[in-house]
Structures are given as structure tokens and as C-alpha cells.
Assembly symmetry: C2
Homo-oligomer: 596 residues x 2
């Protein structure tokens, strides 16, 4: 029980607003409804109405819920919910959403003799009545003590009654959970086909994309036209557009993937544990990936082909703007997947499951890969327990040491900032050794930056010393032609600055003094640390990893630019001839590393 | 607003139990307290009591809270909470826990003219009064709309008043967050010292443990005595006990760790990206680990030495029973860490931060390793966004194929079940090919299991065919001398059964038909898959990994038995001579793999 007081606020409007906020935050008042002697049916007034349905506690609960205009009524039963037949029979399935038109005829409520089940008819009647009056009802199990919290979390337990249910219930709607389970099954089949067959699937996908280019472009143009009509901003429309040649370049890169060494089933380590007992550590797919991507439909193709290459199942959740493009790309790709694997390997989430719902499926999804804005990545990282592969921030630094070749520093800084300012690996903060202040070399770099159109902001020291405007924060990603400058005493304070304000993405030192460079390379705790090279090199293709899944600033699983290997895990395979442990007396351990 | 009905349950005891469960799950009834005309002070009765403090809504709220025996009263203010001075002055700090003895003198409540702040004196009075009567109070901001949910989540917002506050407030209490930040700083220093120095730290820890053996044993005996006095069960006391020889065996294994190849800074991959541009993928520590362990104090030593070996910072949260043992072990270990690294590398959490609070620190802790019961692991996995290394269930299967050598099958099954039934890699379910029914070989295995004292339960088919009691669930870990049996049609149905009911830990096939074995080895999607060898081999030491961190059933980062490598991540180091990307025209990519 909890109380709150709002007496500090004299303004009645603000009070009202605050109360509403609090109520919406907490969303609940909980009232248990039951009657000790179960004698409701004998006390007809005031509970019985003309419809005659208020004869029991379920009806009473429904009446109260309606009178109080409750947001939700939960009826706890001794079974999981309403079934399509007797719950004990295996072919009976739980009905997750009750649709009167659909279910009324086919369900036998059956007032069986078993205690408790007899009440289901009353429950369904009460639920239909309450739902039609505007208070939705969930019938769920009272034995599973977490079922109420599950209902409150919006999980799909029990049977929901809602006045709009008939509008929702698409005839063959498949939930994201079911899609994930199917994707895992197909992924297991994909692993069990031969390496040649997996290669062929990729080649078939490439061919299918080219064969259907016209159709794909038509659908993409419809998306573009709709986006233009909706007044969506230009940069977004540009990302939405599949430019001429894009389909064939996508097909080309899929063929490159098809021809790479099969990453699945690679033996990474082989050890003889004891005589005749051989252990192998082998690569295998992660399982099911969820890709959330914003407008770019080409991301769908890239990720789908990486998933096939790595043997993973896939759920795709794309932006609404690219709806038609995504649908046709998904259809074309799935059409190339043979029935031995199953086209449910790749699911396109088009149901009403929204991103927050998908992110709750941590029992059936193994990895989330967001492709889009930093904001998207941050939101996803903040709202899921599923591991996320990606990075929210790319606050990259270049530190110019006292020993730097200043011409080289100029080249690197300009490339790092201006080659593609919106990229995550563009430099955001320039750290300058204090001895470089007022040198010609530094002045030249600053002049060149300004000439190129880069707006300069200073940290506390630099804004004083260089007479430039103060940066609002030292932990800031401009993603544009702007840059923060700060003066540091030496490589150690540069490292401290990076640890304090950076995002552990990519940081660079420009120095001729190799001792100083080594300190930087070994102590900066970022995914990528560079000496005398532009931060822009931090990229899967430039690193030679082939297709890039993303750049990870996570410290777990994969870090920095991630290729196909980030979509793999390992499995230990042990082959013996009847060996037993027997208190470690069963075998004589040798632990010999064997050649691969 | 929500209602629930429990009318299905006729048993009054169960109703009561259910209501309590629901209440504890939801834990709340929310009552907003305010009075439209603020005229409480004019309606003296019944609100004013002899102490004269009930003159405003805050006092009314406190009175109501006390009368209703509320669990918590939240007073919303227009400032963040109670400050040590005027909130507008930068040196004023928020007081998170009000301690009358400590704070009463130093705080100027100041009935300043600014609207709203004037009420702080009344709030503090009401809060002190309510807290002393048993209802804790939090004063927090009403403007931050999420502050109520934060309070309910136990976050440290606003100012808490609690009758026991003076007992909690240790003079120099360090929060777990501060400990984690310090541990990361020390871990960075540990990485930057030489490999020889890291080795020396481990040797010094081993020496210090042996030198302090007497002291450690004394403290351990105090813990044991206290546990015995508290009537704690025998098996727990046995785990708590550091048996004779344990300290020296721990020291010995630390010396083995010290002498292994330094796992930090290993170059895992070296690529020439372009002329003079060399990329290395190197190993480095994960960062900060949180180890939650139940009674075993030896786990503290093992994990601490693994953390030092892998260069990680560490937070330790041990069980209360082992309080004194943990404290002395922590002191001895930290005493051996030189000041160049800092003894805050390893923090022992003794503050009132509880496990749920620690698990929220996902921004400063990189990995959680639970060491204890399956229940502990499950709870931790369910309640944190920090990656967890471990496994909740170990439901291991042995499938006996039609082609099995039945003598071998008997040896393997008996070892897998009886070598150590409480281990996670013990077999829980035996799957039997249908053609083996009523064969002498199978009868012999079942007889031998019964003779050894293993209770046998059957799945639907096995209980019928073999006339044994039905297993309650096919997804069940006995952890004891009991086993589920089920009949399957062939290797494919065995695999389906394992995917459906298993926990992806360790599964084994006994078969002479190598084709069938290969299907099993390649299709069973578990961390470890064995052919003709006991499931008990799934173990870090037996796999030759050296010290074991744990066995992971996660598919991300590390899987199966995990050694030091599970505590490492990678870093990309790029060395150049001024190369820039320049729209990928800056260099000619070569992507040559170089020898390590």
C-alpha cells in the first residue's frame, strides 16, 4: 500500500496533470473480488439484472468492473484459459483471443464434473458481457502465481476478450513468437543440409533478386511515392530508395558470400582428452536473430544473406515507409529457400507485434541487431534483455601528440572528420598536446578545418586558449561538419579524457614517438585503437571481414567491426569409445592439442 | 484499475494464499492525498493531535499512512529531495538517507519565499514522524514524472526517512557503483603493468594465502560455529567449511594459473590491410565482473585469481553465512595487490546494496557470474540486463540407439547418472530406441540402475511399456539418484525430444552406427554433444581448459565449459603511417593474412 501527497502544488491544473501522470504510471488499483460464502446467487438484488447473468462471483466481478470502468478484469481459473476442447486432450488448443463470431459454435464449454472447470461457462458469459461493455477480460490460470504479472506485462497468456477482437483477428495471423520458433526449426534444418546446398541457396537468392528486379523496383517506387505524399524528409526518402544498379550490386555481394569458406562446422580446436577420446570445438549458428532496421530496404537483403551464410534463423522488423519494398524482397528471398529448409527461416514481422513486444522474446531470440539511427540503437539497448549487437554512440577521438608529424596529423584529422561526417567512425573530438599550442602546424590544421567548413567548439581549456565557442558537452557526437577541441598535458591525460568522455568505439593517436604510441595503443580501452591512421578505417569491409553485420561497442561476444563470425557460436563435440569419468579414475587425461 | 476474481477456488486456505500472492506480486494500493481547498489546518479535529503537527496535507498524508500502516509514503516536492543547504547553491548536496542524529543540526530547512520550497520544514517533520512510527517516507520531485516508479524500483532518488536509518548509515559506506568504477580503473592499471608483474601478483596471492592460513581458518571456524548455532542445514555447512589442505590446494592452483601463458595481449589475428597498414586483433580483459556466490568461500579465491590472471576488475557478493571467511580472504588477497595496480581491483560488497541493486549496474559491470544453486542462476538471469555466464538447468540426455553396444551403454548410463548425481552434467533423461524394448541388454541396464538405487520414472510411452511410475515432467532436473526414461522411434525423434525438453547443456548418443551418431552430433543443438562417452566429461578441467569459470548454456560469448578465455574480449589495433580513407581511394587494400 502506498500514498502520495501533492500538496506542494497550488495550481489545480498541475495537480490534475500530476495525478493523471501518476495514475498512468502505476496504471492500477487492485481489488480482489470474492465472496466468502459464495452466496451471491441467493442475494439477488442488487446484483441480478434483467439479463439474469449475475448469478456468481464471475458475474459480480464483471458487474463491478463495468461499474468502476476498470481497464481490465482478470478472471482466474484452474485451467490456462479457454480451450478449443477439453483441456486434458492434447489436440485441444488454448484460444488466445476470443472472437465471438469464430469461436462461439466450436467450443464446448462443458460443465464437467471436475471441480472448478464447471465455472468456465459462467466465466465466458461474464467475459463476453464485460468486454462488450468496454472492459476487456483475460481468463487465465490462478495456479501459476506469475500469470497476473504476465498479463500486466502484455504477455500472451490465457484468453483475451475484447470488444474489438473481431477486428484484430486476422484469419491466419502468426505471432512473432511462433515465427521465432519456426525460424529456429528451419535454421536447424539449414545446418543439417550440406555445405554445397547452403551455397546454392545463396546463389539462388542472388539470381531471384536479379530476375525480379523490375517487380522490386515497382514496389520500391510505390513506397517512395507514398513517402513523398506523406511529406517525409528528403534524407529518409533517399535512404528508402533502391538506386539503379543496387539490386545487381546486392546480388554480386551475395555471390561473394556464397563463395566464401563455409563458416559453419569449422573446427576451431581439437584436443585429445584421453586415449581415444577426442574433443572438437566447432562453429555453429547462434540461432535466431532479430533485425530491426529503419527505412533502408537493402539492409534486409544484406542481413538475410548473412543469416543464410551463417545458418541462422531471422526475424525482420522494418520501417513502415519501406513496407512494400520489404514485403517483395522478403517474398523473393524466401522463394529461393528450398522446402528441405523451409521458407519460415526468415520471418517478416508484419503483425501488430511492435518492437517493445519483440524485444521481450528473450527466450526465443538470441541476438538483436539494430540497423539505423543511434537513437534506435539506444532505445533497443535500454529495453531488452536480449544481447544487442551494435553501438549507440561513436564518439571517436584523434590525439595529436607533441611528437606528431603535423602534416600527417592534418591529413588524418581532415579525413577522419570530413570523409563522411555522419559515419560512426568519424572523429568528434580532437585532443591536442599542450606544447602544440600556437605552433604553425596546429594553426594550419585548424585553418584547414575551418576552410573545409568544420565548426570548431572547445573544451574548457581549448575555448580559452584558442578563443573558440565552448562545446556544450565533451561527450557529444556531432555526426556533422563540427568538432570539439581540447588541450591535454600528455598522452596520459589524453587517455583519461578518452576513458571519461568517449564511447569506446575508435580512438587514434598521431605520434612519431613509438613509446608514446605504444602507451596509447595498450591503454586505451576501446574496440579499435589506431596509430597514425584515420579513424574511418574502422569498418568491416576495410578490415577485410567481408560483409559487415555492424560495429559493436559491447565487450561481450563481438567487439568492433563484426562480420559473419559475430553470428556464430561454438559447440563442443566429444567422440569416445565408451569412456566414463568414474571419479576421474576412468581415463588417464592427456590433453594433447591436435592439429586442425 | 483492475479487479480479479478467485471464485474458482473453493478452498478458503488456497484463496487466502492466492490473495497474498497477488498482493505481494503487485505490492501496491495507491491513494492520492490532497485536499482541494487546503483547509485542513482549519478543520482541526480529527486531524490535529496533541503533538500539534497535523496542520497541512503532508501531515495528513503521514497520519493516513500511519493509520493505514502503509508500506511507504512518498511526499512529492518541487525539489529533488532534502538538501544539505539551499538547493540552488552548487555545494549543496542531496541527502539520500536522513539520519536525525547526523543531519538535524546541519540542515537549514529555511522557509524561503519561493513557492513550494516553503513546505520543506513541514515535510521533514511529517516524514520524521511517520518514519519513527514505522512507515518509511521518501521525499522526491513531483516534476520528474518517473520519480515514483524509480522509488518503487528501489532506485536511490530523493531523501529516504526510515526508523532504522541511523543503524544503516556507515560513516564511509562505498556504493557498489563506486566500487565498480574503481575496479575498472585498477583493471586498466593491471593491464598496463608487465606480464611478469601480473604473474608476480598471482604468486604473491598464493604465498599470502598460505602465510595467513591460521587466520583464515579461525575466521572460517567462526562462520561455521555461527551457522551451526543458527541451525543451518548440514550440506550448507559442509560447503561453507574450508577443509584441511584446502588453502594449500587453492595456493597450488593459483601458482598453476600464474605460470600459464599470459592470456592478455595475445595476437589472435594479424592482417595487412594495405601497404604499411597492419591490423591486429588482440585479447584483452572484459572489464568488471560481478561474482555472486553462495556459501563456498573457496569460490572467492578461485574467481579472484582468475580475474587477476585475465586482468579484470571484480566485485564479489558472497553469502551471509561466509561473511567472516570472505572478509579475511578478500583482505589477504587484496594485501598482495601492489599499489601500482590498486587494491580496489577486487571489491567485496558488504554494504546494504543487495543483489537486485547490483544487477541494475549494467553500465559499470560487464559480466555476472553466479556460483551457486540453479535457483540462484535462474533468479539472476531473470532479473538483469548484464550478460550472465552460467546455466540455470542441466537436463542432460543419453540416447541409446538400436545400434548401441549395450555393455558400453550400461557403463555410460551408470557413470552419467551415479558418478555425481547432483552435478549439472549428470544425466536426467534416458532415451531408448523402441527396438531395444524387452531386450536383455535394456533389462540389464534398468536392473543395474535400480540396484544402484536410481528411481526410474517414465515418459508417456515408457511408463506404459515398462510399467514404471509416470514422470511429472519431461523437462526436469532431479539432481539426485532418479532418472526419467522415454522410448523414441529413432535418432530423429530423440533429437526432437532433446530440443523440446532439454536445456541445451550436454547430450550423448550411444551408437555403433556412425551415420546415426553423425546425425546426432551435427543436429543436437546443445553446448556439448557426445558420442559414446559419459556426459560427466563436460567440465573445464576434464576438457583441459585449466580453471573453470563455469559452464555456459548461453549462445552468446562463451558456450559450454568456460576457462579464462571467457573472461576476455578483443581489441583491434591498427598501426599505420598516415593512411587515410578518402572515399576508399586513399589506399589500395591488400587484406593479406600475416603470420602470428
Amino acid at each position: 500500500m502506498m500514498l502520495y501527497s501533492v500538496s506542494d502544488f497550488k495550481d489545480p491544473d498541475f495537480r490534475m496533470q500530476l495525478s493523471e501522470t501518476v495514475n498512468s504510471l502505476l496504471a492500477l488499483r487492485v481489488i480482489p473480488v470474492f465472496n466468502e460464502n459464495d452466496a451471491i446467487s441467493t442475494r439477488k438484488a442488487p446484483y441480478e439484472d434483467s439479463s439474469g447473468i449475475f448469478w456468481d462471483n464471475d458475474s459480480l466481478a464483471a458487474l463491478l468492473a463495468m461499474e468502476l470502468k476498470a481497464d481490465l478484469l482478470i478472471l482466474l481459473s484452474d485451467v490456462e484459459g479457454l480451450y478449443s476442447g477439453p483441456p486434458s486432450e492434447p489436440q485441444s488448443k488454448i484460444i488466445h483471443t476470443y472472437v465471438k463470431e469464430k469461436h462461439h459454435g466450436e467450443i464446448t464449454f462443458g460443465d464437467k464434473s471436475r471441480v472448478g472447470r464447471g465455472g468456465m461457462t459462467a466465466k465466458v458469459k461474464a467475459a463476453i458481457y464485460s468486454a462488450s461493455a468496454g472492459t476487456p477480460v483475460v481468463i487465465t490460470s490462478g495456479f501459476a502465481t506469475d500469470s497476473i504479472t504476465k498479463v500486466l506485462k502484455g504477455e500472451r497468456v490465457g484468453t483475451l476478450f475484447h470488444q474489438d477482437a473481431s477486428l484484430w483477428a486476422l484469419p491466419n495471423e502468426v505471432s512473432a513468437r511462433e515465427m521465432a520458433v519456426s525460424a529456429r526449426e528451419c535454421s536447424r534444418r539449414l545446418q543439417s543440409v550440406s555445405s554445397e546446398e547452403r551455397k546454392k541457396i545463396l546463389l539462388d537468392i542472388a539470381d531471384a533478386l536479379e530476375a525480379n528486379e523490375k517487380l522490386i523496383r515497382t514496389e520500391n517506387e510505390s513506397d517512395i511515392a507514398a513517402a513523398q505524399q506523406a511529406g517525409i524528409e528528403k534524407s529518409l526518402i533517399s535512404r528508402l530508395t533502391l538506386k539503379p544498379g543496387k539490386i545487381s550490386s546486392l546480388a554480386k555481394s551475395i555471390r561473394v558470400l556464397a563463395n566464401m569458406v563455409d563458416p559453419i562446422g569449422q573446427i576451431l580446436k581439437r584436443t585429445e582428452l584421453a586415449d581415444g577420446l577426442i574433443l572438437e570445438k566447432t562453429s555453429c549458428p547462434l540461432g535466431v536473430l532479430l533485425i530491426v532496421f529503419e527505412s533502408r530496404p537493402d539492409a534486409l537483403v544484406q542481413i538475410a544473406s548473412l543469416a543464410v551464410r551463417s545458418g541462422n534463423g531471422l526475424l525482420l522488423k522494418g520501417g513502415k515507409e519501406a513496407m512494400r519494398s520489404n514485403a517483395i524482397l522478403h517474398k523473393v528471398i524466401c522463394g529461393a529457400i528450398p522446402s528441405t529448409v523451409g521458407d519460415k527461416l526468415i520471418g517478416l514481422v508484419t503483425s501488430r507485434d511492435e518492437i517493445p513486444d519483440l524485444l521481450k522474446l528473450d527466450d526465443v531470440i538470441d541476438l538483436v541487431i539494430p540497423r539505423g539511427s543511434n537513437k534506435l540503437v539506444s532505445q533497443i539497448k535500454a529495453s531488452t534483455k536480449i544481447p544487442v549487437l551494435g553501438h549507440a554512440d561513436g564518439i571517436c577521438h584523434v590525439y595529436i601528440d607533441r611528437s606528431a608529424d603535423m602534416d600527417m596529423a592534418k591529413r588524418i584529422v581532415l579525413d577522419a572528420k570530413t570523409d563522411y561526417p555522419a559515419a560512426c567512425n568519424a572523429v568528434e573530438t580532437l585532443l591536442i598536446h599542450k606544447d602544440l599550442l600556437k605552433t604553425e602546424g596546429l594553426n594550419d590544421i585548424l585553418l584547414e578545418l575551418k576552410t573545409e567548413g568544420v565548426a570548431l567548439y572547445g573544451g574548457p581549456r581549448a575555448s580559452d586558449e584558442l578563443g573558440i565557442p565552448k562545446a556544450k558537452s565533451l561527450h557529444h557526437e556531432y555526426n556533422s561538419m563540427a568538432c570539439t577541441l581540447e588541450i591535454v598535458d600528455d598522452v596520459h591525460t589524453a587517455i583519461d579524457h578518452i576513458h571519461r568522455y568517449g564511447s569506446a568505439h575508435t580512438d587514434c593517436i598521431v605520434a612519431e614517438d613509438l613509446k608514446v604510441a605504444d602507451i596509447f595503443l595498450h591503454q586505451v580501452d576501446s574496440a579499435a585503437v589506431f596509430h597514425n591512421a584515420s579513424t574511418r578505417f574502422c569498418d568491416g569491409a576495410r578490415f577485410g571481414l567481408g560483409a559487415e553485420v555492424g560495429i559493436s561497442t559491447s565487450r561481450i561476444h563481438a567487439r568492433g567491426p563484426v562480420g559473419v563470425e559475430g553470428l556464430l557460436t561454438t559447440r563442443w563435440i566429444l567422440r569416445g569409445s565408451g569412456q566414463v569419468v568414474n571419479g576421474d579414475q576412468g581415463v588417464v587425461y592427456t590433453h594433447n592439442n591436435l592439429p586442425l
